[in-house]
């Protein structure tokens, strides 16, 4: 960690967004993670995505569990809401928050230990319920905070820094998320922001459970030759199936692509996900075929990145539960205490 805080001075000619904010207005406190940690790059990508989408910081809530990755919400969006929960419990806290106030944008930040080990159950249920959120797992294959033990996403046969071999098979968070019904699934790499920033923007504009598995090298414990989550390994095995551009509703569509090359998916708020195919056969809407492709590529030792699945007609928890459209904090006494006649009526319906 650094001892000084990041200087207030900024480049004299930074771009500003709709609110007159620069990307620096979306920063948080200076990071205390190890120098070079992939998680810091993901924080920078989140900052950039929120800036580019003109998000008002006070309409965002960041939630996390425990781990180096779960510490990062302190380092971005310093003017947003935050909740640092216990280990593996971010998904249920987020679900509760979302039920109480559906108007906020929810960013769930977690690690592979937090979500694939202790929090696996919570992870699974938040996705299958379709909570409208962005769920990012900063995946480094180790428990970074507790000094580098193998995590449940660590590939079988990969080696620890000290040379020990991992004998357990790995959980593939992307496969799980697809299986569980997440309606936006992507994989990114902290070392490729050009790819990652749009993936995060896409997840934010998507209404439904959006999951991003972001490979994020742990500089201190998992960036050595025997690792499958280090910079070199990921760069050598990265197979991007598409490139995403996220166009806001007010951006006119000016670039022409040849048919077949580009596909557009309009989101609930009118934003458009514009996907440029890099792999001919990959179809983000065909969940079964996509899962098949992912399995094949994995067997071939490739790490598939990009937008891996988008549901054209996503549902979310509120729709499924048929909840009120207003957040709790907007309800008045009249709605919250409808009086004895209403109670009578309700009780009668259960007799």
């Amino acid at each position: 960690m650094t001892y000084i805080s990041k200087p207030k001075l900024r480049h004299p000619h930074l771009k500003t967004n709709k609110f007159g904010f620069t990307h620096r207005d979306y920063e948080g406190a200076v990071s205390t993670l190890c120098a070079g940690c992939g998680h810091d790059s993901i924080s920078a990508a989140i900052i950039q995505a929120c800036f580019e989408l003109d998000l008002p910081p006070h309409r965002i809530a960041k939630l996390s569990g425990i781990g180096c990755s779960s510490k990062t919400p302190t380092y971005f969006l310093g003017n947003s809401h935050g909740f640092n929960s216990v280990h593996g419990r971010m998904p249920s806290v987020l679900t509760g928050a979302n039920l109480a106030n559906r108007d906020l944008i929810y960013l769930g930040i977690s690690g592979d230990g937090d979500s694939a080990s202790i929090g696996l159950g919570q992870f699974a249920h938040s996705l299958r319920r379709g909570v409208n959120m962005v769920y990012i797992v900063e995946n480094n294959g180790v428990y970074g905070l507790t000094k580098g033990q193998f995590s449940a996403t660590s590939d079988r046969g990969s080696k620890s820094k000290k040379g020990a071999t991992n004998r357990d098979s790995a959980i593939d968070m992307v496969m799980l998320a697809m299986e569980l019904g997440a309606t936006y699934v992507a994989r990114g790499f902290s070392g490729d922001k050009a790819q990652l920033v749009p993936l995060i923007k896409g997840a934010i504009v998507h209404r439904g459970a959006a999951f991003i598995d972001c490979i994020s090298p742990c500089i201190a414990f998992n960036n050595h030759p025997g690792s499958t989550k280090g910079f070199d390994y990921v760069r050598e095995h990265n197979e991007a199936v598409n490139r995403l551009d996220v166009m806001s509703p007010r951006e006119t569509i000016t670039v022409d692509y040849q048919a077949g090359e580009v596909e557009e998916v309009t989101q609930h708020d009118g934003s458009v996900l514009r996907l440029r195919k890099l792999s001919e056969e990959y179809d983000v809407h065909d969940r079964v075929a996509a899962m098949h492709h992912l399995q094949k590529s994995k067997a071939a030792g490739e790490i598939v990145t990009g937008v891996l699945h988008v549901d054209r007609e996503p549902d979310d928890l509120h729709a499924n539960l048929n909840t009120l459209t207003a957040p709790f904090n907007k309800l008045t006494e009249k709605e919250l205490c409808p009086g004895s006649p209403a109670l009578e009526k309700f009780n009668a319906s259960h007799r």
Partner: protein
């Protein structure tokens, strides 16, 4: 020729912040000879270059450089007795004799550089005391006499012979006296006059500003009329009007031909004058001195405006409005200076150009007579003290090489040194935290007291606390970011942390196009991009140095040490062993 004072600026600013005033003073004394004088009067050629002004752009209401000049004064004011650290007259001479004509800053620098080496240096000046225009022209309310005495004294004490009250009237005669070298540092003494109707008749109340100032300095003049008009827009005009305010002038105004922006006076000189209730009137060309039988009553001015011709050149053309007439009791003419070398015989081997100026080599400062050198205002016309000092250093090197039969065109290279400043993972030898303070103002003496006595210094100088705060604004520009491609793993940590968006990893390209697609556009074409290639992904690292804060965060966040903060030291080689050929 560079200014020797600018290289060590951050180094002595850090010393001032650390309270090491003696060390800060000595760094200054070595390079610019007159830290106490310059700390009050310098023309500040270095401040426009200060990065602080650029990085405050769009961040602070009024971006301003570090008050480099005024910090210099703090070192001079707060130091202890440093005489022990000054060079002593050598016990043995080297048998070479050098004459310096004029005892201004240029000559004094030549003498200070050469005397400790064993040269027998004699300085001649027509004035009884050494200092040149520092003593005779710059008014006491800007520069107290004891500061001049102290710093001129340090020079003389290195073993220099000063012969005051001696005017050199013949170069030919001096050439016959067997000096190994002669340095002409006679300044630019004659003020230009304005030959207008009424000039002769009203002469009694029309004064050449520069002569008037020196008469005030020497105590020959101690009052002026109530209504004074100062003609001219340079720094001399500013000194004239402020001096007039102190000698009884109540309605003092400065009238200038050009517009306010084009005036030669430094912005702060103009500010100081206006602060003392002196209006500056622009676009008025003097036409006639009006007098009543020889008694000056006023000046008539023609109104002009600036017009630009097709080639963008500015011309002042009459507006056609009726002339303006201002009443006054005295006029001070401060419209520039002329050079005068009447005492140099034109047949003694020194070539002069069509404008009556000697032909002087800009590097060696030699005239067409190799043993005769010119420096300061005498060489290329009026400038300022810091340039006179710079000339002095270069002339001393030429003389030293000349006296050792070496080619003066070969100049000694500066000594360059690059040292890592890392002390721990996040510890540096310098304070890398960035201050958000705005430039601190130098406290002034209360105007009621200041305007009453011409010898009372107006600026009080920074106290040590203010000096510390101002010093903390310095961005340590000598501590530079150095990148090593083979170590970089392209993790982006440096890009993410950099507060100024200086660093970009991207595809290679032509500079023009590259400048536009960096994380933040590189807009200053005068600032080279720092580019390094051979990265694993085939990309290049591009850093725009222009607004880098030298905060070292890139190096702190780099996991591999691919960035390092290294202090760049540049020592100008002075006259002496180091400047000579190695044999």
């Amino acid at each position: 020729m560079g200014l020797s004072c600018t290289h060590a600026v951050p180094e002595y600013i850090r010393l001032i912040a650390a309270g090491r005033y003696d060390d800060a003073y000595m760094i200054n004394w070595t390079s610019n000879v007159f830290p106490g004088v310059l700390g009050r009067t310098c023309d500040r050629p270095c401040e426009p270059a200060c990065r602080r002004g650029r990085v405050e752009d769009h961040n602070q209401e009024k971006p301003e450089p570090v008050a480099i000049c005024r910090l210099k004064r703090v070192a001079a004011d707060s130091k202890n007795d440093i005489r022990e650290r000054l060079p002593k007259p050598p016990s043995q001479g080297n048998g070479k004799r050098v004459a310096c004509i004029g005892a201004g800053p240029a000559s004094l620098t030549v003498a200070r550089d050469l005397a400790p080496l064993g040269y027998e240096v004699t300085i001649f000046d027509q004035d009884p005391r050494a200092g040149g225009m520092i003593r005779s022209q710059i008014p006491r309310f800007r520069l107290p006499e004891d500061v001049i005495d102290e710093e001129v004294g340090y020079v003389i004490d290195t073993g220099v012979e000063f012969r005051g009250g001696v005017r050199i009237n013949s170069m030919a005669k001096l050439l016959g006296e067997g000096f190994d070298a002669i340095f002409v540092g006679t300044g630019a003494p004659r003020g230009r006059d304005l030959d207008l109707p009424g000039r002769k008749e009203a002469a009694k109340n029309i004064h050449i500003g520069i002569d008037w100032l020196s008469s005030v300095s020497f105590g020959h003049i101690d009052k002026v009329g109530k209504r004074v008009i100062v003609l001219g827009g340079g720094n001399t005009a500013m000194d004239c009007c402020r001096t007039a305010r102190r000698l009884g002038g109540e309605d003092v105004k400065v009238v200038v031909r050009s517009g306010f922006e084009e005036m030669k006076a430094s912005p702060w000189e103009k500010e100081d004058a206006m602060h003392e209730g002196i209006p500056i009137l622009n676009f008025l060309v003097p036409k006639e001195f009006v007098h009543d039988d020889g008694k000056l009553t006023g000046v008539v001015f023609e109104k002009v405006q600036a017009v630009y011709d097709a080639r963008g050149r500015r011309q002042l053309v009459p507006t056609g409005d009726p002339d303006e007439h201002f009443e006054c009791d005295d006029v001070l003419v401060a419209v520039g200076q002329e050079n005068a070398f009447s005492w140099i015989e034109r047949d003694c081997g020194i070539e002069f150009n069509d404008w009556g100026m000697p032909v002087v080599d800009e590097t060696t400062l030699q005239s067409s007579l190799p043993g005769v050198l010119f420096g300061g205002d005498a060489a290329f016309g009026p400038k300022n003290i810091i340039w006179a000092v710079a000339h002095g250093h270069e002339a001393a090197i030429s003389i030293d090489r000349l006296c050792h039969d070496e080619d003066t065109a070969d100049r000694p290279p500066p000594l360059v040194n690059l040292v890592s400043q890392k002390m721990g993972i996040h510890e540096w030898t310098y304070d890398n935290d960035i201050s958000n303070d705005l430039r601190h103002k130098v406290p002034l003496r209360e105007q009621k007291i200041a305007l009453k006595n011409i010898n009372v210094e107006v600026e009080l100088g920074f106290d040590q606390k203010l000096a510390f705060d101002e010093a903390q604004r310095c961005l340590n520009c000598d501590v530079q970011t150095v990148f090593s491609s083979p170590l970089c793993i392209e993790c982006d940590a440096c890009v993410d942390i950099c507060p100024m968006d200086c660093i970009t990893f991207t595809e290679d390209g032509e500079e023009e196009e590259l400048r536009g697609r960096l994380n933040a556009p590189a807009e200053n074409p005068l600032q080279d991009l720092y580019v390094a290639g051979a990265l694993k992904t085939g990309r290049i690292m591009v850093k725009d140095e222009d607004v880098c804060l030298h905060c070292g965060l890139c190096a702190e966040r780099c996991p591999t040490g691919a960035w390092d903060m290294r202090k760049f030291l540049l020592h100008m080689t002075p006259a002496g062993q180091g400047c000579r050929d190695r044999k």
